[in-house]
Symmetry: C2
Subunit: 244 residues, 2 copies
């Protein structure tokens, strides 16, 4: 049974506040880097795994996508997506990412933003993605970086008595599997995999690695918010573009 | 001007002691993992970059290689190689790796063990390797892992008052470039690059990523030496197999 923290009331409202009411890592770091990897979206058919409240699905349509299927496990997220970003070219599906079952060769792009670290069986989902990608189609996904998921703590910074960050604590790197972290609520379940496992799983499934990003914030965002420079001390995210 | 620590007397003798008189990371961790990536060596022509005292060159010949060219910056290492592993099929060249200048399409394999973290200009050496690899030829190399080179300290373990390892200290990850570390002697110069930069440089040069390893020690070595399990806490090495 997959964990569905996004339908927990406390988590959901905290998350919505984070995404909609403040500048956050997604907006200034993960999304800009992710979008540098996108090809021309004109007339493309796109599958968005872990679509959340549909913000990206809508953006893909604005960039010319012919059809976007957004999949998410959270009833609340899908409900909000249908309310905020209801468009003819977008179809929202309420289901765990693990349960997708699309016919072969139908998507030009499978995109997934910060969802795969919630997936227990990475190999299975990559095989399903490979199956539904058209030949030469791309999988582009971001996830928490393995150096961020390795140690099972909510905040991996070692700090001095003044609360200043000393360094990032890396541990348990080779011990792949479940991690429990506190993020808005207690016991959010994530799955740690090494960078090598992630890349080799893609290759073994038949995908070619096109580009790997360990992104920093945009220069403009770093100018506005000095704290973002701290993110240069360890990579918070891993983004991979692979081709069928 | 490339640094040549291996011709420093203190460094040289300490290194030889490490490699020849004790069980070390190379023998139980890096070399076994590296060799799992090798194809059948029968009748292959091999370039070994940073060949040291020729141990691997000789092993490649024992596995059927038709010709091995070993390149190393260290006069002492090349002299010892010629003394210990003098064979008709091996040609030793005394020069910095950066100065190789082979004609096109002549090697089936370019191999390099724990040398590239000494190279300032990674892109240039990858271009030279691509040039001298035969079509479908492989580059297989190991280097210190980017999480190990990122922080400019000789030993990245945070320890408690009893000397027990608490976690690995990761810092300065995005700040690529020169690092000075003390290893046998003071001021050994290494170059830090991110995993993303390393992989993308290979791809941009025209190579395909075949496999990525962040190896642990062999199970047998871990049984003999409990300390080796500590290496599971952070990856000490990165090994990549790429194909032209």
């Amino acid at each position: 049974m997959q964990q569905n923290v996004y339908d927990n009331d406390v988590f959901y409202h905290s998350y919505i506040d984070l995404r909609e009411k403040s500048t956050n890592f997604n907006d200034v770091l993960e999304i800009p880097a992710f979008r540098t990897l996108l090809p021309d979206l004109q007339q493309t058919e796109i599958l968005d795994l872990g679509c959340g409240f549909g913000q990206s699905c809508s953006w893909y349509v604005s960039q010319g996508a012919a059809r976007v299927v957004g999949v998410d496990i959270s009833e609340k997220m899908i409900a909000r997506a249908k309310q905020l970003y209801h468009q003819d070219k977008i179809e929202y599906q309420l289901r765990p990412i693990e349960d997708i079952n699309f016919s072969a060769d139908q998507f030009d792009l499978v995109l997934s933003s910060l969802a795969f670290h919630y997936i227990a069986d990475f190999k299975s989902i990559v095989e399903k993605i490979y199956h539904c990608l058209k030949p030469k189609g791309f999988l582009i996904f971001s996830q928490e970086h393995p150096v961020a998921t390795a140690k099972a703590v909510s905040n991996g910074w070692a700090k001095n008595e003044h609360g200043e960050k000393l360094h990032w604590m890396l541990d348990n790197y080779q011990d792949e599997g479940l991690r429990k972290q506190d993020w808005f609520i207690e016991g959010v379940i994530k799955y740690h995999r090494t960078t090598a496992t992630i890349i080799n799983t893609l290759i073994e499934t038949g995908l070619h690695i096109v580009r790997v990003l360990e992104p920093t914030a945009t220069a403009e965002a770093e100018l506005r918010n000095e704290d973002l420079k701290q993110e240069r001390r360890r990579p918070p995210f891993l983004i991979i573009k692979a081709q069928k």
